[in-house]
Subunit: 70 residues, 2 copies
DNA sequence: GCCCAGTAGGGTAATTTGGGGG
DNA sequence: GATGTCCAAATTACCCTACTGG
C-alpha cells in the first residue's frame, strides 16, 4: 500500500508542466479543461498539477514505434 | 534497472528536428514511425523528440554551445 | 499597498497529424 | 525504399487584457 496523502504530493505550476512536455503553458491549461490532466485550484483560481501524474504521463522512457505494427 | 530521468531531458519539436536535418517535418515523423527515432507524445498526440538522441544521430558534428542554459 | 512574473480568459495564426498519390 | 507535396482535421503557439501569487 503506497497511498500518499494529498498534502504530501508535490504540486507543479503550469509553466513547469509546460517545460516538461515542451509545450506552451496554455496548452497545459487546455489539457486540464479537457480532463486529460487532473488539477488543483488555488483560492485565486490558478491551477496546480500533480507531479506524480505528470511523470506518469511523460512515460519516463520514450518508445520507438515498431515498423510492423498495424 | 536504468531509468533515465526523461523529464529532465530537453525535448525538440518536429520542425526543429527537421531543420537540424534539413528535411521535411513529415520525414521526421516517418523516422519515428519506422522506429529509427524515439519520441514522446504530448497529451494531444504531437510528437516530441529527445535532443540528446538527435544530436547523437547528427553524427558528431560539433554543435554550437549555448551561452546561457537556465 | 506596490511591484512584477506567472496565470486565466478569449481569439487568431501556425504547426502537426494522418492518409493518399506522385 | 525514401522523400516531398496536397488535403482536411486536430492540436498547439502567439496575441491581448485583467487578475493572482509571492
Amino acid at each position: 500500500m503506497n497511498v500518499h496523502h494529498a498534502e504530501t504530493e508535490t504540486l507543479l505550476t503550469p509553466s513547469e508542466v509546460a517545460s516538461l512536455f515542451r509545450v506552451d503553458p496554455k496548452t497545459v491549461t487546455r489539457w486540464a479543461k479537457a480532463g486529460k490532466l487532473s488539477s488543483i485550484r488555488t483560492l485565486g483560481g490558478h491551477r496546480r498539477y500533480l507531479e506524480s501524474e505528470v511523470r506518469d504521463l511523460l512515460g519516463g522512457v520514450p518508445q520507438q514505434q515498431r515498423p510492423e505494427d498495424s
